[in-house]
Amino acid sequence: MATTITKTKTLIGKAIRRREDPRLITGTATYVEDIKMPGMHYAVVVRSPHAAARIRSIDTSKAASRPGVVAVFTGRDVSNVGPVPCGASLPGLRVPHHTILATDRVYYAGHPVAVVVATDRYIAADAADDVEIDWEVLKAVADPVKALEPGAPAVHPEWPDNKAFDFHQEHGDVEKAFAEADVIVKQRILSQRLIPTPMETRGVVAEWRAADRALNLYSSTQIPHLLRSMVAQMLGLEENRLRVVAPEVGGGFGCKLNVYAEEALMGFVAMKINKPVKWIETRRENYLATIHGRGHVDDYELAATRDGIITGIKLRIIQDLGAYHQLLTPAIPTLSVLMMPGLYRTQNICADIVGVFTNCVPTDAYRGAGRPEATHGIERMVDILAAELKMDPAEIRLKNFVQPSEFPFPTATGLIYDSGDYAAPLRKALDIVDYQNLRREQAEARKQGRLMGIGMSTYGEICAFGPSPATPAGGWESATVKIEPSGKVTVLTGASPHGQGEETTFAQIAADELGVDIDDVLVVHGDTALVQYGIGTFGSRATAVGGTAVYFALQDLKAKIKKFGALLLNSDDVTLANGQCIDNKTGASKSVQEIAAASYRAMQLPPNTEPGMVSTHFWEPPNFTFPFGAHLVVTEIDRDTGAVKVLRYVAVDDCGNILNPLIVTGQVHGGVAQGIGQALYEQAVYDENGQLITGELMDYAVPKAHMMPWIESDHTVTPTPVNPLGVKGVGEAGTIGCSPAVVNSVVDALSPLGVRHIDMPMTPEKIWKLIRSAQ
C-alpha cells in the first residue's frame, strides 16, 4: 500500500526559529498577570520598612474597614502554615524558623508582615498603607564581614556569632605545597551581591475549589513540581489536590528556582476567602524580597613553581546568606568550592566557608550559582600569578590545563570532569584576535599613553544537575512522548523552561528520532496536572537531562513502532528510517502515523505488547557535565572619566553538541550580558542600617542596549559521554566565563600604573580614583 514518504530529517544542529515565538511576538502569551478569573481578588503584601525590628503590635482595623477590603491576615493567622523550606543540608547547619509572615520580629527590610485582600488592586494597595504597625527598631547588620566581628548585632538572637555554618574541604597535601612553593600569591576578591532582575517579577494566582478540596496555584516559577510538593506540605494539602501551573514565565535566572512565602500565602488566602486571588510583585518588592545572588568575600592563596605550575590553592569564603535560608541558600557556596580548581590540574586544595547571617534578603541561586564566584576567583588568581612571574596569561593557563588524554579526570574536589580539550577554545580565541599582533598593538597604544587591556578567562563549569545523590531533590528529569492516534506527537517534559526554547529543541529531537515533520510535534510543560513529575529548568540542565529523557522515551517508542510495523508488514526484519517502517526484504513500508493508528485500533497486537503509543522515561544522569571555554576581552579606559570601553568581546564556548545554534548563541549573549552587568555595572547596596539603596531599576544598573559590546561568539565541540545527545549545557556559560575576562582586561589596561586587582563592579568612579591615586 502506498505510504506518505516523509523527507529525511536532520533538524538537530539547525538554526531553526523558535516555535514558542508566535504567541510572544503578538502579545498573546499568558503570563501569571494575564490570568483572569471570575470573582478574582487582589492581594498586597505589607512589608517591613526596617531591617531589624520587634513588632509591638499590628492594627489592621483601619485597613479591614476600607470598602472593598475582604480580609487582612497577619502572622498569627497563618501560624498553621508550615515554614518556608530549605532544601540544602550541611553538617551543623543552623536553620532559622522561617514563617510565611513575620510574627514578633522582622529580619530584613521587605520581610512580609501582613497581607491585605481586596476586590481591586488599587484598593488593596491603599489598604496596605492603612495597616498600622508599632515597631521597636533594632540594630541591624548588613555587611557579612562586620557581622562576624565580636559585638556585632545578632541577626538571630539565638546565634550571636551570626554564623549559620562552617564548612571545610581539603584534598592532597596543601601545607606541603605551600611550604615548597617558589611563589605564593594572595588576594581578597569580592563577588558582590547582585539582583537577578527577571523582567517579569514574581506573581501568583491561587484558586480554591472548595467542593473538590483542590487548590490551583499559578506561579511564575522554574520548578512547578517541586513547588507543588513543598506548598502542599506547607498548607497541609494532599499533593494530588494541588495543581501548580507555571504559565509563560518571563525569565528566572535562578531566582524562581525557589519556594517563596507568598506562594503558600496566596494558597492560604484563596482557601480562606474562597475566591481566586492574585498577587503580582512590584519591582520594588522584587528587589527587596526576591532572592539576591553572589555575596562573596573570598580570600585566595595560590602556590606555584617558578615556571608557573600551580601546586596548591587555598580559599576562604565568607558567604553573605541574608537573614534566612531560602531553598538552596547554604548550598550555593559549596558549588564554588567544587569548582575552585577551575580547568587546572592541581590536586592540593583547602577550602573553608563561613556562612553568615545578615539583615538582608537571602541570597540563593542566580545564573551560575557559585560557579561564577569560583571562576572569577581562580581566573583572577591565575592572572595575578602570571603578573608576579611576568608570564603571559595565555601561556600560564596552557601549562596548567588538564590534558585531553586525562579524561575522565578526577579533581581535587571530588568531581570527575567528563571530557574536554581545554586548550582548544583558548587557542581559537587567541587566533580570532590575532593575539601576538594584538599585544604589539597594545605596546604601541601604551607608548601613546593609552590604557588598553587584553584579558582572558578560561572557565569550566559544572552543569546538567545532576546525579540524584549529589542534589538536594532528585537530579533526574522526566519525559513522556505520545504518538496520538492521528500520528501527531506530544512531548511532555518535566523540565519547565522559561525562555530557553525547549519547545523547539525538544521538538527537533522528537522530529529527528521519529522522522516526522517538526510541525507535527508539540512540547508541553509547566502544568503538574498534565505533566508527570519533573524537576525543572536550572543549572543548565534542561536539554542535557530533560532532553535526554525525551531521547530515551523516543527510543522506547521506536522499538514499539518497529514491533507493530513488523506485524503490519508481516515481516521479521524491519528498519525504521525517515518516518517509515520498512520491510528489509520486500521494501514495503508503513508510516509512523499508520502504525500509531494501528496501535490504538489494536486489531492485532505484537506478542507481549500493549496497545497505544506512549512512553515515559525518567532519566538519571550518571555524572554532571562540564562545559568549558575561553572568553577574551579587549578594553580601553578613558583616562579622564574612568569609563571602560569594551573594544572586542570574543567568546569561544564548548557546550558539547549544539542542537540549535540560534538558541545556543542567544544563551551565550544573555549570559555574557549578565557577566558584563556584574563586571561593570551592577551591585546590590545595603546601607549600614540594612536599607536597600539600590531598590529600584533607577539605582540598580541592569545593562541597557548601548551598554553592551558586540559579542563575537564561536565554539569548539567536545561531546560529553555522559548523555547520548552529547550536550553539556550552555545556560550559564556566558555569565561564568565573562566577569573574570573583563576584570583581567581592565587590570591589564591599568597594570602600567601598578594596578594589580580591582573588585567589581568596575564603575567609572572606581577606575578614575585608581588612575588618580596612581598619578
Partner: protein
Amino acid sequence: MKITVNINGKRYSNDVEPRLLLIHYLREVVGLTGPHIGCETSLCGACTIELNGKAVKSCTMFAVQADGANITTIEGLAANGKLHPVQEAFWNEHGLQCGFCTPGMIMASKQILDRNPNPTEEEIRHGLEGNLCRCTGYQHIVNAVKAAAKAVGA
C-alpha cells in the same frame, strides 16, 4: 471620568477612575495582554505602546490623558493575519527569549524605524535605551531591527 479611546482600530468608551494608569486600563479594562508591566516607574519599557503615532510608556500616563487618542499595541501590529516586518524579524533573528520585554521592544523598534528607516547599530542601541531586556544581551534584537529595516526597505 468617561474616556473614549481608539485601540487597534476599535473604539472603547469607559468610565474610569482618574488615577487609573493607562497600562492598567489597557490590561484590566480593555483586556489586552500584550503590554506588560516590568516596573510601573517608566524604567523598563515593557509597557511601550504607540499613542497617536509616538511610542510611549503606558505606565507613565493616566488613562484619562489618553482620552480621544489613537492607540496601537503589539496586538494591533499584525494586519490580515500577516505579522508586521518587525515581528517577523524578531522571530527570524531570535530577538527574544522569555518574551516578557518583547511587546515593548517591538513597539520601540518600530518607532526607531518609523523615524529612521536605516538606523546604524549605534542608533538602534540608543533608540532602545528605554527598554530593558534581561535575556538576550540585545545583540539579536539589534540584528532584528536591522533585518526589519532591510525587509521594509526591500
